[in-house]
Symmetry: C2
Subunit: 287 residues, 2 copies
Amino acid sequence: MKLAFIGLGVMGFPMAGHLQQGGHEVCVYNRNADKAADWVSRHGGTSAATPALAAKDADMVMLCVGNDDDVRTVVYGDEGVLAGIKPGALLVDHTTTSALLAEELAVAANKAGARFIDAPVSGGQLGAENGALTVMVGGGEADVAEATPVLAAYGKKVTRLGPVGAGQRCKMVNQICVIGAVQGIAEGLMIARKAGLDIPTLIEVLAGGAAQSWQLQNRAQTMAEGRFDFGFAAQWMHKDLGICLDEAEQQGLTLPLTEHVHKVYEKLLADGFGRCDSTVVIKDLES
Amino acid sequence: MKLAFIGLGVMGFPMAGHLQQGGHEVCVYNRNADKAADWVSRHGGTSAATPALAAKDADMVMLCVGNDDDVRTVVYGDEGVLAGIKPGALLVDHTTTSALLAEELAVAANKAGARFIDAPVSGGQLGAENGALTVMVGGGEADVAEATPVLAAYGKKVTRLGPVGAGQRCKMVNQICVIGAVQGIAEGLMIARKAGLDIPTLIEVLAGGAAQSWQLQNRAQTMAEGRFDFGFAAQWMHKDLGICLDEAEQQGLTLPLTEHVHKVYEKLLADGFGRCDSTVVIKDLES
């Protein structure tokens, strides 16, 4: 199948590679053209000078960029995806964005004679590299069914949650569950460290019961050691929680934990910890 | 071995039963004597009119009561455990208490010629009934080694975390990790329900990644359904978080999530939800 992939960041670069290796003809676009050239030299395929040109012949166009505004930049305007997209083509957004943007893009894609699904991912850089992402999809049933075998190139699990926007809302729930677990571990570790408990033993004991979590088993040790030079950057979690809080506001909800942790990231970003793993929230308790 | 078991609540009743079934001679004491009589009629063994009388011949005395004050009531005074305990006997406290109480009891036990270890449990009523509790132990190495084969009657995992008080501090970390996961799930579910996401599908997707937790897999569905007529009571979690906050204050720590959720339970208790499962925190977001 002819595909376009817009955005070759730490996620998009390996994701587009999996598509090309899977036998598709992929044309990539990246804001920084050097990275696109690097991608072509590694994976084959082609690159284009604008999103519109990348999308021109594609049956499916994937996006994986930074935030709502980045998506608008590559989708709209004379050089944007929708200026070049084929009638009937399917636009797939892997960016974590607001659900409102997903709904807006669906309308815009339809006006351009195309279709849209939102498909944010979880699993991080490692998941992207290993083709083991979880893909949370919102869109029409037929559209999602059509995309699923293609997304399987990097998605070990591709699940439709509901209509357009449902993928983004599922991702929001995911992030809020993550920061709940992380904040709990951070506060617990503060007591544990002051008390001199042996952290590996503590983790092993807690992992056997109701306190068990992926975060406990994969991040509590590094948090206790103060190691944050890996993983999912605090600046991205800050962005994602902002999206959650906007959604909550629109729904008339108050989410105290999410608000608190969002503020903690704000402070951490101001203090220069934005590129640290998101478990760096424990630093706020140490000050 | 001759054992005494003080406190036949939802946890202590089956725990003492496992000891008797394991071939020990157990003498029980309970504030409400009817329950002690019921226990004897079901399990054999004997009961005593006071903690001191129950402890009189025992090599090991287990406590499992409500809170710090309840422990003091059954341990101190003319009728308390330490008034009757044999020289060299080992006092084991399964109650979730402050670490300060554990340290105080160790001193008091030594004065009475006995020894002490703190051994709070997790795994709930079901874990107690099935003999599948996690036992977090603080105490001298030799004392813990001596107790371990006995505690194995109801502890599928018995782990020494450090000196007296380390068991209680480990339990505190456990509870804080639990409420972090639960509060995250609660806030995420608010968005999910408003968006009309299918909850079982959502849970399945999230359980495959970094948002996975025991609470997500065992409590998110019941939380979404508003079912709280089971599990670990909000009033007990409120008590446990109070212990955590006291410990934090002594250590000079501020724990914002723990403080917030403790306040939420305070409100829920005032509104009559104290006997609901501790996941009832989601109700605070609905109001």
